[in-house]
Amino acid sequence: MFSLYLRLIWARIRGQMQYKAAFWVDLIGFLVTSGIDFVVIAILFTRFDSLAGWSIYEIGLLYALTQISFSFAEMIMRGFDAPFETMMQRGSFDGVLIRPLDSFFQVLSSEFQLRRLGRTAQASAVLIFALSNLAIDWTFAKIVLFVLTLIAGTIIYSAIIVIGATICFWTIKTPEVINAFTHGGNQLASYPLSIYNEWIRRIFLMVIPIAFTNYPTALVLLNRSDPHGLAAQIAWASPLVALVFFGVARLFWQYGVNSYQSTGS
């Protein structure tokens, strides 16, 4: 199955490479536009020394963790993004249902957006900037946690993208509100969770667990504690939270496919 996935993705990437100029323009475009995000935060810090006790470098760590995950999710889950909307509008989802493969797998392997590496590159630069100015006492456990968090974050953002796509089965168009959770979510997660009021914190921990893309892990890495009493060790639960959330998204997807088959849009 995985080799078929690679084969299909490779076919897509070769397809995209038919338009080389567009590829490079987009790659650099993503690098620049996403770069502006952090520039805005940096400008903010020319007026303040810290934000809720977090330095610019610590914020940089938060930002990089959530941004890198988001860029991976956008790259891998591209099939569920705008191309899926087009698929719904043109009725070409029928073509998915006549192939002897799981529909989720087919949509997943229908697209891969390499050009989002622009965002990854930008976020990685911020990560290097942050880490080189922070004195983190790296242990093996911290390195493992760091990597696990990136994976969990990718899964969490992926699940949100899947939920957005699934809504298309009824509305044909992904509602804008999903952008509030993907783009909006990773903007919000660029700041410490502790600055938000209680119900926002609850939503981002328990309903749409975007907080798990960075905040608890940053607490552990930086030896900080949460002013509201959130145990930093909850960071280790990130992969589990991510998998459960993804499982829910996957079930919702199946429900959407069944509904498509009985309404036929």
Binding site: L4, R7, L8, A11, R14, G15, Q16, Q18, R90, G91, S92, D94, G95, L97, I98, R99, P100, L101, D102, N258, Q261, S262, T263, G264
Partner: protein
């Protein structure tokens, strides 16, 4: 047990009502009202393995909806469908492994890649043994003449080429049943002919069951012994094409362009067997009953009076046949 069993199948869509006027969009958002559209209404038929059947009807009759239910894309609202012992939508993956589907309007190939690469990917998707795949590809390339454009990206193919490539793609995994939704739509005469010949061979040599929807009666005439005719979601005829034509499609039309020098009495003249004559400038339409006279006899007769410059013979349109079926009162629904 028949290969395909369709029993009292219905498909009802709920369509949101749209309101006219300036605030129509808002109103339809707030007060969602639905009306039911019966796309397919209690249709029953059976197909045996090896048959080649035309599923015909006017636009919007429910042809595509039926095909989508047979292929497992849609779930029937009621009734029962069995294809090769399976309920298509319940065992979708196992079901589609054994069928081939071609949508005339939409390619299933990878748009940006050379045609051959789509065939390659399908080999992996359907897990076709390499030898068998090679063999099939060679056969299809040969009959459909795919060779010249195997390395051209699909998006650059002409409609006819794309259709041929899609046909080959749908058959690489040796399906038992081939579903074709308007396979000749938009094609020129030569391209249509090539595709029809190919379908005939596949059906004869491989025993592949073929179901095709079309609104081109010529497709049916060339390919199918049996036709199923639906209109407004209801089955109104199921049987031999010959009989359908004898009963309801008897009227053919000879269209003739004549040279200068019309006789004065051109208006009154009506040869034997001709039901009606219409004229526009130098063009005449002679509609005749195929049982009363033949096209050849009629043309001969006309040629004695006029100097013919050009002529064609038109077959009855599906819409005409449908109308005549209703008029004859043989639809009991």
């Amino acid at each position: 047990m028949a290969l395909i069993e369709v029993e009292n199948v219905a498909k009802t869509f709920r369509v949101a009502k749209r309101y006219e006027g300036r605030f129509g969009a808002i109103r339809s958002l707030l007060a969602r009202e639905y009306r039911e559209v019966h796309a397919v209404d209690k249709v029953s038929f059976q197909l045996e393995a090896g048959e080649m059947v035309g599923y015909i009807g006017p636009n919007g009759a429910g042809k595509s909806t039926t095909i989508k239910m047979l292929t497992g894309i849609l779930v029937p609202s009621s009734g029962r469908i069995m294809v090769a012992g399976r309920v298509p939508y319940q065992e979708r993956v196992a079901h589609v492994r054994k069928i081939g589907v071609v949508f005339g309007q939409r390619s299933q190939l990878w748009w940006d890649l050379p045609t051959i690469e789509s065939f390659e990917l399908l080999r992996h998707i359907y897990k076709i043994p390499f030898e068998r795949w090679r063999e099939n590809l060679d056969t299809f390339s040969d009959i459909l003449e795919l060779g010249p454009f195997l390395h051209t990206p699909v998006r650059q193919l002409s409609l006819g080429q794309r259709m041929r490539a899609d046909l080959a793609a749908a058959l690489l995994h040796d399906p038992n049943i081939l579903f074709l939704d308007e396979p000749t739509i938009g094609l020129d005469v030569v391209a249509k002919d090539r595709i029809r010949q190919f379908l005939q061979r596949i059906n004869k040599e491989r025993g592949t069951t073929v179901i095709l929807t079309t609104h081109d009666l010529e497709d049916i005439e060339r390919l199918c012994q049996r036709v199923i005719l639906i209109d407004h979601g209801t089955l109104i005829y199921d049987g031999a094409l010959e009989e359908l034509r004898n009963r309801f499609g008897r009227e053919r039309t000879v269209v003739i362009d004549i040279e200068n020098g019309l006789p004065d009495n051109a208006h009154d003249w009506r040869p034997i067997g001709v039901n009606s004559v219409r004229r526009e400038g130098r063009r005449f339409w002679f509609s005749f009953d195929r049982h009363a006279t033949t096209a050849a006899a009629l043309i001969g007769e006309i040629a004695q009076r006029y100097q013919i410059r050009d002529l064609t013979v038109e077959e009855p349109k599906i819409e005409t046949i449908v109308r005549q079926i209703y008029e004859s009162g043989s639809v009991t629904v």
